[in-house]
């Protein structure tokens, strides 16, 4: 069985959950004997063994190495990206700025060309930036199309004030898709209620998690630790979807009771200025530290050095960060408005708007360390059951199901 997969990101490039999920799923599908051909919008380094096509080679469209800051660039259709559209006589690249939307259309154009050249049975497109590519490939080849929803416009808007172009692409995509894969029941319900997708068209495939051996890293935040401070971490994009403002409100409530707690905010995003202002206005400057965008080792050191992790998302289709924190031995508070809450029982769960309860849980977790120890101990066992292998097996079954009536 051959699958043509379209994705916007892929490791080792620094990116969010989408790349991690594509990688985990692709690796396990290959392991199960599914032939995956991955199509990415621009040339980049690739982690692992997979046949890759870049939608900017051989067609004289080459993107520059885009310096990604922490937020992935695709969360608003109008975010600008620089692309190399050619080279001048001296070999200097000619840059052109495009919006994400334009890039998505360009990707779709290339996808149609690729789909005519390649041999495959199923098309699998990850997230809205690849939906148009998936549709184009389907029109070009007539093969069945699977759209994989890692986030919707409603998640990113944290409400109904959605990006209209993104929403339009979603609606067109879901109409064209033969099957829609949601990363959680939370997302499935959103697709049914907000996008009007037929319930039986949607399959839930929860994300997995790699049970890697975690290396103990050199601790960080030593100065705070030496002062006997308790440390609570947020790590992620700083945008309205992620609920960092609620986290800061909870911090105020916590510090009122226990001034010995410090909150570390790791990450960057379009809401960073607002959050910095908020921290100042609420008189929390002493209690909140901004770590900037942290990656890999630096991020893992944070996970390992703090007492508690909080994922305050307003709307989180899945949410891999609490699983990462768990691997590094840190218990989490997660919001009920997340997909990961469906599969992770060993965490404290709270409604994103219930700042009081969030603060209560933070204080309780710090007061009664036995609870955090147990959450980590039992949660790690649970991680073993949340494998990419399981997700891949479900995907492969879905492909087969789509192909049972196909004639070649």
């Amino acid at each position: 069985m051959k699958v043509l997969t379209f994705s916007w990101e892929y490791p080792p490039a620094k990116n969010g959950g989408l790349g991690v999920a594509c990688f985990g799923l692709t690796r396990e599908l290959l392991h199960d004997g599914v032939e995956v051909t991955l199509v990415l919008p621009k040339t980049q380094a690739i982690k692992g063994d997979v046949r890759v096509l870049f939608a900017d080679t051989e067609r004289l469209v080459r993107m520059s190495e885009y310096e990604q800051s922490f937020p992935g660039p695709y969360h608003h259709a109008t975010t600008m990206v620089d692309s190399v559209i050619g080279y001048d006589a001296t070999g200097k690249p000619i840059l052109r700025s495009r919006t994400i939307l334009e890039e998505a259309h360009r990707f779709a154009h290339q996808a149609a060309i690729i789909a005519r050249m390649e041999q495959f049975d199923v098309i699998h497109a990850h997230d809205w930036t690849s939906y148009l590519a998936g549709i184009a490939a389907k029109i070009a080849s007539g093969k069945p199309l699977v759209l994989h929803v890692h986030a919707t416009s409603f998640d990113q808007a944290a409400g109904d004030n959605v990006d209209p172009s993104m929403h339009q692409i979603e609606l067109e995509g879901f109409a064209m898709a033969d099957r829609v894969v949601a990363v959680s029941n939370y997302t499935r319900n959103m697709l049914i209620n907000k996008h009007g997708v037929q319930p039986d068209k949607i399959e839930v495939v929860h994300n997995g998690c790699d049970a890697e051996e975690v290396v103990a890293l050199e601790p960080t935040l030593q100065a705070l630790r030496d002062q006997g401070k308790k440390i609570v971490l947020y790590h992620g994009r700083i945008s309205i979807q992620k609920g960092v403002d609620y986290f800061v409100h909870a911090a105020r409530r916590v510090v009122d009771v226990d001034p010995n707690v410090v909150f570390v905010i790791s990450g960057w995003g379009d809401m960073i200025k607002q959050v910095i202002h908020q921290v100042g206005e609420m008189g929390l400057s002493e209690h909140v530290r901004f770590a900037g965008a942290t990656w890999e080792q630096e991020r893992d050191r944070l996970y390992q050095s703090v007492d508690l992790f909080v994922m305050p998302s307003v709307s989180e289709p899945f949410g891999l960060v609490p699983l990462e924190a768990l691997q590094h031995g840190t218990p989490s508070i997660i919001t009920k408005q997340s997909g990961v809450a469906e599969v992770l029982t060993h965490a404290l769960k709270v409604d994103f708007w219930d700042v009081d309860q969030m603060a209560n849980q933070i204080l309780s977790a710090l007061r009664y360390p036995v609870m955090g120890e147990q959450i980590v101990k039992e949660g790690r066992l649970q991680l073993l059951g949340l494998s990419w292998q399981k997700a891949a097996a479900k995907m492969a079954a879905l492909y087969r199901n789509l192909l049972q009536y196909a004639t070649s």
Binding site: R253, L348, R367, E373
Partner: protein, 484 residues
């Protein structure tokens, strides 16, 4: 001859509300949730009263009136009785009517449905005594057969019961300890001479309590005739079939639409149709039959889960932590002498609180999830520990005040007597003859939520000044040694 000994356990805990860290030190009420959730104790008692207690008691009364041979046993937690009194007094009255027939025996129990025996025998004893007084007060009877919380049992518990005059004790009839033997005989514990053990026939009991309404069960729907046939098949293989279950099986665990009430209504008559089958209460059973062998249970045995042990209550770290924190407070709680603090501490000992913190996610885990009013075991733990923290704060405050006052008194006395060695010994009034009706161990329990103030004590005990003056002459003996 085969007799059937049914026993229904009636229990409602005081569920701890969502007690937050912010409430510690400001809110003294832990059990007064008034939301629409299952943490609202009044709401639960009213709900279960309608679904289970009222209709079931009505049927039981009819059955007692119709069949002079019909007998059964009840056990009550004190926390259930207190809540009936407060929220559904008619339910309490209907239970009193049942007991007044003389054919319904009440079993001994801990007042607070606690696991105290395994953590503090002195506290366990106080709870059993308190329970006995309450049963006497409400029903006018004295229990003679013992059953412990969740049917938890161990050899030393049987020994304790024998030493305290009980004729029988109940336990799970579990293959691990029975081997090939039948649960339908009486047994005796090792090292005991008089007390007999009544073993639960868990297969026949669970057919009603757990499987009755299960449509996947091969014997569904179960008729009274079929069930009576199963019981009658034990003729020749035993003397007593002990059917032990939660009272709430009728109407609450098994809803009315399963037909459980019709089943109950028909069962005594169907059983009594067999000329050699009849009913006995626990005491009658113990008096009628001899123990046929030894039932040796060195480790805790309960009626819960497939493990039949205490792991549903103390199997994980947060449960053990909460239990340890609770019983660690015992000394100071008793020292405080404050009746309301002691009572709150005991309400927090109810086993249900620890059960809600269970994280066994196997088949058993589903059962725990079903019975928990909290969103997760961790939320249960947080509410409990916060409430316990508040209680500890209050208890320690009272005790510290006492110590400070005593120290101040001693200081004055030692200055008067010219002595420089200051001995912070408890004044003699701490150890009066322990004949106080309630909470005998403490001795300083007052009856209007007020401790006796030391100034008053001095007025009450004029000899105290003289004692204080001379006590430094006497060797200092720690309290614990004085009592032995």
């Amino acid at each position: 001859m085969l007799t059937v000994c049914p026993y229904f356990h009636v229990h409602q805990p005081y569920r701890v509300k969502k007690y937050r860290v912010f409430d510690i030190g400001t809110d003294t009420e832990y059990f007064n949730d008034d939301s629409e959730t299952d943490l609202n104790n009044r709401r639960i008692v009213e709900k279960v009263a309608n679904k289970s207690y009222r209709p079931t008691n009505k049927i039981l009364k009819e059955l007692l009136d119709q069949h002079p041979e019909f007998r059964f046993n009840l056990s009550f937690s004190g926390t259930a009785l207190d809540q009936f009194e407060a929220y559904a007094p008619d339910v309490l009255e209907s239970f009193q009517e049942l007991v007044a027939t003389g054919r319904v025996e009440i079993l001994a129990d801990t007042y607070h449905h606690s696991l105290a025996f395994f953590y503090s025998v002195p506290e366990f004893k106080r709870q059993v005594q308190k329970h006995e007084r309450r049963i006497k007060q409400l029903f006018g009877v004295k229990p003679r057969v013992f059953r412990n919380t969740e049917l938890s049992y161990r050899n030393d518990l049987a020994k304790w019961c024998e030493d305290n005059g009980y004729l029988g004790i109940m336990a799970e009839g579990w293959e691990k300890y029975l081997g090939w033997r039948s649960p339908n005989f009486l047994y005796h514990p090792p090292g005991c001479s008089k007390i007999k053990i009544l073993l639960k026939n868990y297969k026949l009991s669970d057919d009603i309590a757990f499987r009755f309404g299960n449509k996947q069960w091969s014997s569904w729907p179960l008729s009274a005739d079929t069930y009576a046939g199963w019981i009658h098949s034990n003729h020749g293989d035993g003397e007593t079939v002990n059917l032990f279950m939660d009272y709430e099986s009728f109407g609450e665990h098994q809803w009315a639409d399963t037909g459980i009430f019709d089943f109950l209504r028909a069962l005594p008559e169907t059983l009594l149709r067999h000329p050699d089958t009849s009913f006995k209460t626990a005491t009658e059973t113990v008096q009628a039959y001899d123990a046929k062998g030894e039932y040796d249970v060195p480790d805790v045995l309960t009626w819960a889960d497939t493990d039949r042990d205490l792991t549903a209550w103390n199997g994980n770290d947060i449960q053990r932590d909460a239990l340890a924190a609770t019983y660690k407070m015992e000394e100071n709680v008793m020292k405080s002498g404050k009746r309301d603090l002691i009572e709150k501490w005991r309400k927090l000992q109810t086993s249900d609180h620890f059960y809600y913190m269970c994280t066994k996610w196997s088949n058993d885990g589903d059962v725990h999830a079903y019975f928990s009013p909290y969103e997760s075991p961790y939320d249960a733990y947080i509410a409990f520990m916060n409430a316990l923290s508040d209680l500890k704060l209050r208890v320690d405050h009272v005790v510290n005040e006492q110590v400070a006052k005593q120290a101040a008194e001693s200081e004055v006395v030692s200055q008067v007597s010219g002595s420089t060695d200051f001995v912070p010994l408890a004044p003699p009034s701490v150890n009066p003859p322990s004949n106080s009706r309630d909470d005998a161990e403490s001795g300083r329990v007052s009856h209007d939520n007020q401790t006796i103030k030391p100034e008053e004590k001095q007025r009450l005990h004029p000899l105290q000044n003289i004692w204080n003056r001379f006590k430094s002459i006497f060797p200092v003996v720690p309290r614990s040694n004085q009592s032995t």
